[in-house]
Symmetry: C3
Subunit: 298 residues, 3 copies
């Protein structure tokens, strides 16, 4: 049973109630894992709220343009693992003028020595280099969990993007099922310019949506893709004036909630397989899913 | 040898001759299976005609908005299995104002008790529930055959869509290689709103054409996609005024028939594999197909 | 070490220096294979030049509209196998009014007896028919190498297309990562009209970019796709007036060279796998690539 307590959240927030994370009153996907506390989330620039079937994860460090770092990814992944089962929509949104300016440069310190670290003990990409290749790969896969959980068929994920979504910020938006953007949104895959690769699972949705050549030049040129182009390329599913972004996301969430929740879940799962499966296999998945639906309705 | 006898068919029909199904004069793909008779087809709301290389399957129950039911799918699948070998183009068209309003609600009776069944003995989705899961899956796979055969490389399939194409109607159009639409066409994937999943093989062509996010919101929101949007998304390959639909389909069929028939077949097959195959495998398929073409021409 | 000597090349050429192929001063991918000499290349209608990180392969038989034949493909494949390692961009361009009118009809002589062969001893598709199926397949796979090497992650390949790109010409453009086109460009897949299939690896990029139905009708109808439609379909990544084509290609090459070269290579490779891989596998490839990048930067 999901219990929500009213609590002060920003007035522009989609959900008006905050979920008491870790209160023990919330059924979670993995009950052996404690949800991150509000304090833990705040320390990495995140806030979690829930209102009925709609959960919101808010990037709330606008003074740093919602840059991302390993500790934030670990907290986000933990949010994913402990998402209350009643949630049907997960909105990823951000406070301030930009969605996310990408990797916090302090995470690259040592690689980019010009940027001092705020917290010398914090996990950074540089600190990983002391370990073996296997250790680094494991850490990266932990980070990827923060992006993978948004594909969970249990809910539909929506990125609400205003301003810049750069690098890891672009990939966070790409990891969501849907992208609703303000007309000032700007996407940029910065990694190649920094000598890195986009490794946070954003390449697959990018290339499948815009095509191989377009995806390649967007990544290698590290150029800006503005909101209008994002709509034309099918990367953004709706574009509205910045002031209307929250209303638009709310309207989409409501229309998505009109479907039978379990049918929506099965449909999301089937669409994920349909992208790359042989049709002979896909039809079997569809038949098996329909059996479950008919049994549930019958 | 394909023999066609002139026979009365609607004047707006693309093909002007009717093929005497089951006459024994038609070479069929699977000679051990009898083609459905005209009477059998009529009882499930279908009509089959052939004129040279062009076959037409017409949904002809406009008074019920060409809704679909299991018996129709079984007949359609049988048409597919017995398609005369000379056929190079299969057109799926419909009489009346709408292409197909989807599943006949009487097929859901018991699930949707408000709709009485016309024929208490008819096969319905509900009647399936008396069987085991395996029995249901087998039945669904039989239904899917009505949609799978349209991918047969022996011919190119074209859906001629006016008015509504809802649920199974949308999937029938998606199962065709090409969709030529009247400007009043409206597509809607209704399944999730009814608690079901689209299980008639339409999800793969949908998601690969419009992208994952767009496909997801179209399915889960069960919203209307009009002709103009269908063209913009690449779902429809040509849009014309409703009165010109048959002429447009005829023109496309004629231009498709200009190709070498066997080269067209091999090309269709290669494009199907090219969508999801490793390039290293695809090039081998292409080389093998070209050997067959060169031998045939040499 | 790549050494380039200044040498006379056409003034409209992107690279201003010519690489002395086969001089032994160039590090090549496969050192056991000699690069084709300038004379060898010229005899099959090709020219190779290099200026720093940018290599150009020019189709230089405009009097024959840059038609292609087996000997040209073998030379092109050899260029691919011996591409200097410093090359980050490979431009495929053509002299004259058209990019390439496709297969030289003399390669079909015997199949198309109306066209006399210039060189009775030359390798032609017809001459292949004396061999076994396996021999023909091997020859075709050799030809395909001329198109496959353009996918090599070592560099980014750009087709600069003016005028007609027909059949093998269309496939050559499709084999490149990017297509920059003059506003007079016209693409046409002619193979099916000639009784052949497109077997030079162009179908996969075509179908994944424009979708299955559109790809099918383009191939089977063998119709012209002009520059404007190519842009709308995402087949062309930029369109400019014909006089500006070389400048535009140069500008793109320069912006692509701003990325870290190794990051660009890893990104190209990751995008190739992302198109058709399971996400669970793709994320592992991304993590492994990032480990390599971090080690290189650290």
């Amino acid at each position: 049973m999901v219990v929500c307590l009213r609590s002060g959240v920003p007035s522009d927030s989609l959900s008006s109630r905050k979920n008491p994370r870790g209160s023990g009153m919330t059924r979670v996907h993995d009950q052996s894992i404690a949800s991150p506390t509000e304090t833990e989330l705040h320390s990495v620039g995140l806030r979690f709220t829930q209102s009925g079937a709609i959960a919101e994860i808010t990037l709330c460090k606008p003074e740093r343009r919602n840059t991302q770092q390993p500790a934030m990814w670990r907290a986000m992944a933990a949010l994913g693992r402990t998402m209350p089962t009643g949630v049907q929509i997960v909105v990823i949104r951000a406070e301030g003028r930009s969605f996310s300016a990408g990797l916090d440069r302090s995470s690259l310190n040592g690689l980019d020595r010009s940027t001092p670290s705020d917290d010398p003990g914090a996990e950074t990409l540089t600190s990983l280099l002391a370990g073996t290749d296997l250790t680094i790969e494991r850490a990266i896969r932990d980070y990827q969990d923060a992006f993978m959980f948004l594909r969970d068929p249990s809910f539909i994920s929506i990125a609400a993007v205003q301003g810049h979504a750069v690098g890891a910020g672009f990939q966070l938006a790409l990891a969501c099922d849907l992208r609703i953007v303000a007309d000032d949104a700007v996407f940029c895959m910065k990694e190649a310019a920094l000598g890195l690769v986009p490794d946070l699972t954003g390449l697959a949705p990018l290339v499948r949506q815009v095509g191989y050549g377009r995806a390649l030049e967007i990544c290698v040129r590290a150029r800006n893709v503005n909101a209008r182009e994002a709509v034309a390329l099918g990367l953004a599913h709706s574009m509205v004036p910045a002031d209307d972004l929250n209303d638009e996301v709310r309207a989409w969430a409501e229309s998505l909630l009109l479907a039978n929740p379990d049918a929506a879940r099965e449909t999301k799962k089937l669409l994920q397989s349909a992208e790359i499966s042989e049709l002979g296999h896909q039809r079997e998945l569809e038949a098996a899913a329909q059996v479950r639906r008919l049994r549930a309705l019958g």
